[in-house]
Symmetry: C2
Subunit: 546 residues, 2 copies
């Protein structure tokens, strides 16, 4: 099934807002219903495909002489235009598909990807890999030197096989187009799990997780996706790069870590070898309450540093707890109850014995840190609604509100200042613009040495919602860099974070990455403008139409 | 204190061979006492330093106008010639110091390193960082396009400070020239440990650990050094590269992982931020016996995959167990006892409660896997002698034997074939050459998905020990690549593994790394020939002597 083209996920699962929330939006935030409905799919004005016949024939040849694997119809192109950030959705709702791809190409394997890259090079086309289409950082819409690039979206949905399962080593080799639930189903048949459950789980793909350094909600137990990856194959215009002869090695810099996070700018990931684990016997989530965000954060830090490590470990700040965002399918209920303090969700997966032991010891630590056990209900409700928040955003946009998320990470000692700086930047900017926001935050990924902060912002849309959000986002990004955070903990860089990423990586970091890109993609055809500022040479000299 | 110039460590700790071992060498391996003694230090023929006065003045200026920090005396240069591989020692014993550095420069901090790099660039000198001098892969002797390079050894011993300790985040920022025991002492004063205990522990430095992706004997519990690193500063001819704004990030490829393992070829590491942990309350090591290497390996795999994870987890094969190499300070004793099967050393560090719990559960698993508890004695003896093996090598060389180690890693399913392939390659080559060897092996680093194999080879030296070993090493390297292993799990690439590393990384991997090197070190002055084949441009066009 395809995702909703101008929103999230399965249209049948759209979630209307509870009355309590509608009340908050109106009374507290001054949200007014929008007077214009979103432009329907059939009315979107898609520019004609710039693909000429020679290029089309070359692409068709590359995918095994199958014309149906090179699509230029308006609907397919619209469905591959941008990702799922709020600005993406806002533009789509106004009918703006100006940066639609010239074509959508669906290869069947590594060799076809190499052939498509070759065809693109010969015909002066850029190319951007397209997995689940869930990017929220502008990672799918490459930029030409001015305006949208003339590009092919490489939809990897047919590359969806489990290529190998090594039960002795507990590794699986997966194709990049596998959506996470498909990958989990294939592994579950053999008794294994990957354990990667990001909010985008139902739609996002293995290749996308690797390309963007995704982090799942069970990262405390299973690690981030980049920590699960043992090997990668990358198809580039210069050929294939194979990495990962051993789990760990001292043979030079870790080339896997150069591919992870490369977001399509260095090549197309055509296979990913990951660590798998036995399916857990037990999955249990529970709620804990803390008097304050600081107190809760100290408890999470204690568990992350001294153990025992739960599988899921999250903490909502006071506002998010009050609104009930920790449980998206019960949104508003906590508002009625006026839930005070901060809710933490603590989850355990594993064998029965191990889970029981870890749970008991963790409970002792959480109590020592001032936590109060809130029963299983808040945890199980969170688990039930864990993939629902993006649906809620669609409903908020429908109701005329602006809703978006952003995230960062830093070391534990800097967390309080980073938290305050980003919250103040968002609140200040949007209040000054006349639309005071609700700013909510949670910690969802913990490490021995630091943690991530995930912010959700809701406000009225203002006159020009795109410009409105852009100002707030800009202020938040500046606050993040100033307070010592990373510009993104798990959403990736894309085009939206690029200018701040360049500052974070520094001139020599950027020089090194540009050098890598030029060595693998000398013509600059891969996702220009994504990750690094585009320096794509004019597609003329070596292009010829046979 | 300086290390023994033509051997390992502290001359006062030289370890004579027990009679049982001398017997084995003579009877079993046909080792004959050498008829020539090693050339003494004062008789080594060191070529005159090619450093001219202008270059010397520039280097002196770079290190704060301190002439004593630019040394060209023969002894200092000999002490900075090569590392501590057996070929290095064999050459040194014959008085060959042909590739001594032109000068040894001792900077005091990051800015002085940048200034030294600048002076080297201006005067056409290459530069190789020198930490503990313990490289066993030719990482300290850069190569010119033909023959030894004209280079400066940058001795980092004065950069030995703890720059910062963040107790909330549990991170420490260390200068690169700190030897491991110095670093541990500084951290212990504050109640922390790094937990990095490689065999080179007593001499090797923090910068070296990072540059070579070192792995310590407690890696099962504390992780590899590259897993401890959170941030690095790299001084390059193009300026400084700072990495690590957060423990984990999705902001592009991980630049830390490009610096880790770069072995001085991309820059000089001038600070390392590492994760630290509280000093353990308990340290306990014990012995377990298994009927075979396969049975023991299966037990280690079980602990690595399903836990509980000990802090130290090692397994010697039948030969190593019989010889007693698992306990270097008791070498030969097991031979008298005719110890059968395979000895595993299992160690636990942590709080009393945690250690007890892990130890009990691990014991149950080890028993289930066919292990027999052998008491604390073998574990504690191993712990006592854990840094002694290199001393034993000196004694073996003195006795006329050839002794060297090499290591690799792969996935669990490939371990048996890799083990057999390397053992057969070493045994076959040396037997064919008329000096049948003893080949011993242990697993010393385990991961969920694979493990390392560490081989020790002892044979007679033959007519030309250097050529003799070179043939065996070449055969082992070929076997490693063919059997799917990595060319090095923790020794690094240096110059010795470079030709095989190039094949492991593949043409695109090498192209990407070369591109990175050129972006940070356009003149190619950093450790030419280390890691990647040297492509140092002739040092003429931009060199001028003011």
């Amino acid at each position: 099934m395809d995702m909703l083209w101008n929103g999230w996920g399965d249209p049948a699962r759209a979630t209307p807002l509870p009355d309590t929330v509608t009340g908050v939006l109106r009374e507290l935030l001054g949200v007014k219903p929008r007077d214009t409905a979103p432009v329907p799919l059939e009315k979107i004005g898609v520019p004609a495909s710039p693909l000429d016949d020679a290029a089309r024939r070359a692409l068709e040849t590359a995918v095994g002489d199958r014309p149906e694997r090179v699509r230029t119809d308006a609907e397919t192109r619209v469905r591959h235009t941008r990702g799922k950030s709020t600005p993406d959705l806002l533009r789509m709702r106004t009918g703006d598909a100006a940066d639609a791809p010239a074509a959508v190409v669906l290869p069947d394997g590594h060799d076809e990807v190499l052939a498509v890259l070759d065809a693109c090079a010969r015909h002066g086309l850029a190319l951007a890999p397209f997995g689940g289409g869930t990017s929220v950082v502008g990672g799918l819409a490459p930029e030409g030197r001015s305006g949208p690039a003339r590009f092919v979206a490489l939809d990897l949905r047919h590359m969806n096989r489990l290529l190998d399962l090594d039960e002795v080593s507990r590794t699986a080799t997966l194709q990049p187009g596998l959506r996470a639930p498909e990958a989990e189903a294939l592994l579950a048949e053999r008794g294994y799990t990957l354990g990667h459950f990001p909010q985008s789980y139902e739609w996002a793909t293995i290749g996308g997780f690797a390309a963007t350094r995704s982090s799942g909600q069970a990262s405390a137990g299973y690690g981030r996706f980049d920590e699960m990856v043992l090997g990668l194959t990358l198809a580039t215009p210069e050929g294939a790069l194979d990495t990962g002869r051993a789990p760990r090695s001292a043979a030079g810099p870790d080339l896997r870590q150069l591919v992870l996070g490369s977001e399509g700018a260095f090549g197309v990931i055509t296979s990913v070898t990951v660590r798998v684990r036995p399916l857990p016997e037990v999955r249990r989530h529970e709620g804990w309450r803390f008097a304050s965000f600081d107190a809760g954060a100290a408890a999470l830090r204690r568990l992350a540093q001294d153990g025992p490590r739960p599988t899921v470990l999250r903490l909502s700040d006071e506002t998010e707890t009050l609104i009930g965002l920790a449980r998206p399918d019960a949104i508003g209920a906590s508002l009625e109850r006026q839930d005070a303090g901060c809710l933490a969700v603590v989850g355990f997966e594993g064998t029965g014995e191990d889970t029981t032991h870890r749970r008991e010891r963790a409970a002792a630590v959480l109590r020592e840190c001032g936590g109060t056990f809130a029963g299983d209900e808040p945890g199980e409700r969170w688990a039930h609604g864990r993939y629902s928040a993006p649906y809620l955003r669609d409903s908020l946009l429908d109701a005329g509100a602006l809703a978006e998320t952003l995230e960062t990470a830093t070391y534990w000692s800097k967390i309080p200042a980073l938290y305050a700086a980003v919250r103040d930047a968002l609140t200040g900017t949007l209040t000054e613009a006349g639309t005071p926001p609700l700013v909510m935050c949670h910690i969802s990924h913990v490490y021995e040495n630091g943690a991530s902060l995930y912010f959700t912002v809701v406000s009225a849309q203002g006159e020009d919602p795109l410009a409105h959000w852009s100002r707030a986002k800009h202020a938040a990004n500046e606050a993040i860099l100033t307070a010592g955070g990373t510009i993104t903990h798990h959403h990736g860089v894309g085009t939206d974070h690029r200018d701040w990423y360049v500052r974070e990586a520094g001139p020599l970091g950027v020089a090194a990455l540009r050098a890598v890109k030029r060595s693998l993609d000398p013509a600059g055809l891969l996702s220009p403008g994504v990750l690094l500022p585009g320096d794509r040479p004019a597609p003329t000299t070596h292009s010829h139409h046979p």
